[in-house]
Subunit: 293 residues, 2 copies
C-alpha cells in the first residue's frame, strides 16, 4: 500500500472517470486500471462499481476513501511541515514559441527561479511547431506553445491562456473599412505560409465558403506584420504579437472582423519527462498559479 496508489484512487473517486483521472495524474489509462485493481486485491473488496459506462464508488470504496484521505493528509502533514523540502536541483530545458516567451514565460520563470534557484535553466525560443516536435522527441523537457491540433499519445498539455487571433490591416485600410464588416472575398489577404494561424484561417474560410484574395504567403508572424504594413493586405496574428510589435501605429486591428478560435497556449511535456523533478515542479507551479487566478 503506497501513497501514490492513494493519490490515484482519490482522483478516480473524485472524478468517477478513469480516463480523465489518468490524464490528471499523468499516467496511462491501463496503468490506472491496474493500480486500482491492485488496491482492490489488497483490500479484498471492489472499490468501484463499473458498468462499462459509469463509475461509482462501492460501499467499501466509500470507507476506503475516508481512510485514504486521512492517511494521505497525515503523510503530507508530516512530510510538509516537519521536514523542509530538499533543495531541488537538476536541469530544465524549455523550448518556447516566440508568443509564449513574450506572454507567459516571464512571470512563470521568475517565480520558478526564485523558488528553485539551484535548477539549471536552459531556454530556447523559436517556431511553435519546433517546440512541439522537440518535446515529443524528448530533446527538451518542456514546450511552451499553442496547443497542437492533436495531442500526441503520451503527452500532457496544461492550458495557461487563450490568446485571440486578430485581423490586422494598414492604418489607411482600417480607416476606410471601419463602417462595414471585413469582407475577405474582396480585401487582399496576406496568408501565413504554415502554422496554426493558417489552419484556423483556412478552416474559417472553408466553413463560410469564402474564396479569399490571397496576395502573398509569408512565414513568421513578424514577417506578416511587415508585409501588412507595406500595404499588401490584411493578415492574422496572435493579438500578443501585434501588441509587442514596433509597428502598432502603422498596423491596426480590424475590429469588425471574423472571430477565429483563439490560440490556447500552455505547457506541453511527455509523461516521461514529467517524472523528472524539475519539470514536475514547474508544472505544479503553473497549476497553482491557475488555481490562484
Amino acid at each position: 500500500m503506497d501513497t501514490r496508489e492513494l493519490e490515484l484512487f482519490l482522483t478516480v473517486a473524485e472524478l468517477l472517470h478513469f480516463g480523465r483521472a489518468s490524464q490528471q495524474c499523468h499516467v496511462s489509462p491501463s496503468a490506472l486500471t491496474r493500480t486500482i485493481q491492485k488496491l482492490e486485491q489488497e483490500v479484498g473488496q471492489s472499490l468501484f462499481v463499473r458498468d462499462n459506462r459509469s463509475v461509482q464508488l462501492s460501499a467499501a470504496g466509500e470507507q476506503f476513501r475516508q481512510y485514504a484521505r486521512q492517511a494521505l493528509q497525515q503523510w503530507r502533514d508530516f512530510h510538509g511541515t516537519l521536514m523542509q523540502d530538499p533543495v531541488l536541483s537538476g536541469s530544465l530545458t524549455i523550448y518556447a514559441s516566440i508568443t509564449a516567451v513574450y506572454s507567459l514565460l516571464p512571470s512563470l520563470l521568475e517565480d520558478y527561479r526564485q523558488r528553485y534557484p539551484a535548477v539549471q535553466l536552459t531556454l530556447h525560443s523559436g517556431a511553435a511547431e519546433q517546440a512541439v516536435a522537440r518535446a515529443e522527441q524528448g530533446e527538451i523537457d518542456l514546450a511552451v506553445a499553442a496547443r497542437p491540433e492533436r495531442l500526441a499519445p503520451g503527452m500532457a498539455f496544461l492550458p495557461l491562456a487563450a490568446i485571440p487571433l486578430i485581423f490586422i490591416a494598414p492604418r489607411e485600410m482600417v480607416l476606410e473599412a471601419e463602417a462595414n464588416p471585413l469582407d475577405l472575398s474582396r480585401v487582399p489577404l496576406v496568408m501565413p505560409h504554415r502554422g496554426l494561424a493558417r489552419r484556423r484561417l483556412q478552416r474559417w474560410l472553408k466553413k463560410n465558403r469564402v474564396v479569399p484574395d490571397v496576395r502573398l504567403e509569408v512565414s513568421g508572424n513578424e514577417a506578416l506584420i511587415a508585409m501588412v504594413r507595406l500595404g499588401c493586405g490584411v493578415g492574422v496574428v496572435p493579438e500578443l504579437v501585434w501588441q509587442r510589435s514596433p509597428f502598432r501605429e502603422e498596423v491596426k486591428v480590424v475590429t469588425n472582423a471574423p472571430r477565429l478560435t483563439p490560440y490556447v497556449v500552455g505547457l506541453y511535456a511527455s509523461r516521461k519527462s514529467l517524472l523528472r523533478n524539475p519539470v514536475q515542479a514547474l508544472w505544479q507551479l503553473a497549476e497553482e498559479r491557475l488555481d490562484g487566478a
Copy 2:
C-alpha cells in the same frame, strides 16, 4: 512511501540493529539498508545515526517513528476490521523429522487447518537431514526439524522448542550404575551412525577427552533404542523419541549422565518460499503461539 517500508523502519527503530532486524523481517541486510536509505531520501533527513558500531534514532527518526506507528496502525485497523481477510488458498508442502512430527506438528497443524482450511497440505516425514536439504533445494516449502549446525544463507529458522538429548540404557544397567556418574570410557556405547546426535556426542567426547567404547553404530533413533534394549550398551536419543517408544519399561533414562546441548527444533524455510502466503501464514501462526506461551 509504502507500508512495507514502515514495517522495516519500525523494526530497525526497535532493535537498533540492522542485522537482527533484517533477520526478523526475512530480508537481506543489504535490502534493509537500501530501504532505509530510500526512506531517508524520501523524507529528506537521516533517520538513524550509524557510527558503524551502533545504531541510534536521529531526532527526525524519532518523529518519523511516531508517524510510522500511527500510520501503520491505522492501515492495520482499516484492513483488519473493515474488510474480512480473503480466504487463504494454495498449497503447503512440509517435510518434518520424525521427532518433529511427534512433538510440534500435531497442535500446530491443527490450528493451521482450522484457520486456513482451503490450503492443500502435504506432509512428508523422514530423517532431519533430508528435511533440511529439501528445504534448501526448494523442493518443499518448509522443514520442521532440528536447527542445523550452520544455517545456509537465504534460509530462515524459527526455534520452537528445545528437546533434551538423553542417555538411555537397558534397565539392568541403569539400576547398577545409578549410584555413580555414567563413565563413557568404561560403559559400551551405541553410536548413531550420523546426524546431529552423533555430532553432539562426539563434540562432548572430544571436549572431555573421553575415548568411548563403541560397540556398534546404528542408523535411526528407533534402531538405536532397539539395540540398547538388546543390551548392547548405552545410547543417546532425543528425549521425545524415548517417550514415544514402546520400550519405555525396558530402556531407561540414565539420570546421572553428561548433559548434551539440546536439540533446537523449529521451522526452517527459505526467504523465497516465505513470500508465499500459505507458508507465511504458518510461520506467523507459530510466532503467535510462541508469544502466547
